[in-house]
Symmetry: C2
Subunit: 308 residues, 2 copies
Amino acid sequence: MSPQADVQPIDFQTWLTSRVQQVEGMLEHTLPGGDAVPGHLHEAMRYAVLGGGKRVRAALVYAAGEASLQSNAAAASQRIALDHAAAAVELVHAYSLVHDDLPCMDDDTLRRGRPTVHVRFGEATAMLAGDALQPLAFESLGMMPIAPALVVQAIQLLARAVGSQGMVGGQAIDCENVGRVLEAESLQQMHRMKTGALLEASVLLGGIVAGGGSIVRDGLEKYAAAIGLAFQVADDILDVTADTATLGKTAGKDVLENKPTYVSTLGLDGSRELLRTLRDEACAALLPLGPSACRLTSIADFIVSRDR
Amino acid sequence: MSPQADVQPIDFQTWLTSRVQQVEGMLEHTLPGGDAVPGHLHEAMRYAVLGGGKRVRAALVYAAGEASLQSNAAAASQRIALDHAAAAVELVHAYSLVHDDLPCMDDDTLRRGRPTVHVRFGEATAMLAGDALQPLAFESLGMMPIAPALVVQAIQLLARAVGSQGMVGGQAIDCENVGRVLEAESLQQMHRMKTGALLEASVLLGGIVAGGGSIVRDGLEKYAAAIGLAFQVADDILDVTADTATLGKTAGKDVLENKPTYVSTLGLDGSRELLRTLRDEACAALLPLGPSACRLTSIADFIVSRDR
């Protein structure tokens, strides 16, 4: 079944469900079994990765990949490569959550409605599980059956996105500023690194795998920058509007800890206004890609609608 | 200056000094400056990586690379690729030390005669510094100016070596067995993963970069397996025979914490006997490579002679 065949007929929710199932299967296949030595570590890795989650990053990989493949049917090898790339971004995301939840960081005990990895498996194992999930993500990209030059490009993109000037750097800025009120610009910079970098990388990975040309990549880059920020704004709004049960993690924690958020900087109304603007920017960026980008539009709507 | 030109004329110590300087320069160049945002994180990364160390892993990359290039002068691009690979293994090694030293792991306060990273920069920053050094290693490999297919092969090799069935897996087994006496076979398995995997990968990376054929790779694999274990045996002996000042880290710690070591399993004499056997195995494996492998032989001797 080529992505072309199903772009029009099925609705977004059906598409999303199918892609989430696809990446879940891939993750199950990529992670060593709990019976592989060392068992405790592998159990922790599986617990961290396979415990649900919205799989927004994987969906972005698939949606961007399918948008970039508009002019020709997807080759089987490209479909497989998208699976590998989708698994890779989810592995990295899972590792970052495990480390963020550790006592020396956010000290969270609840994630997706379950005890966090260190609560369940101990601190040392949680740290090591995160440490091992990261190279597994690069290994997953390394196994993509496409031109080696594109594989290298994808690996470089992910490595930069999750490094000291991307995701981990954003996390470090966040830690350094607990208890301070950041200005809007600094806040935006921090989020662009902490959450935006990996979301953007997910979109761009889909484009690289699908061999998208410069017009496509340009559109994807602008889209990615906008939804990267939108995601964080929605998260900050949810932290004050949702309850712990709905959120699956401790609500109101950012406020309690006096963490810099969009809501603390722009207020609730200002944050919602920004969210709408970012959604419009994201959709405008997709216009040159035509109708095959419809899943990306739907994901932008999905991100914005989390604020309810 | 091609590696061929300097294999015979200069002695091992001069060669080693020159390669250590080479990788130090490369690391200096690869690490973002302390003035790059976030500064605190980058300072911690630089402190972790540039604080000395024997650079045994980098030396193995260069020595294996130069051994594999025996029949033709090294192309400039291969020399550069060896620099990138040497930097990559040192970045990974540095990250593993930072995480191993954390309170939730070995809780060490001294490393190479200086305060450990978390003592100096705080726990959160130490964890994040390690988290950011790891992708920097993959990025360094990704920049090697050789055939992309070889780059992907190198990345896959490193990813597996440092994952849950390599370095991090060995660390996890070590943690799980504190307070128990491991049997010789289990101990060997643990060290083969914890320390051996990255040392072996260093040797094999040199071979991949230099495009070594199957006879060369076969010899390198056997050599790598032997010196991987030899390194750990020497380390365990040093833990009981050297003092803290000589070691640059807390001596006798393994014994105090009842950690499984070669000395606790085989005794001091048995460990020294094993060390000599492993050295002979390593050197025998190099015979098919001829005289260009002389640096690898010297590194084997260097590792064994640490036991003094």
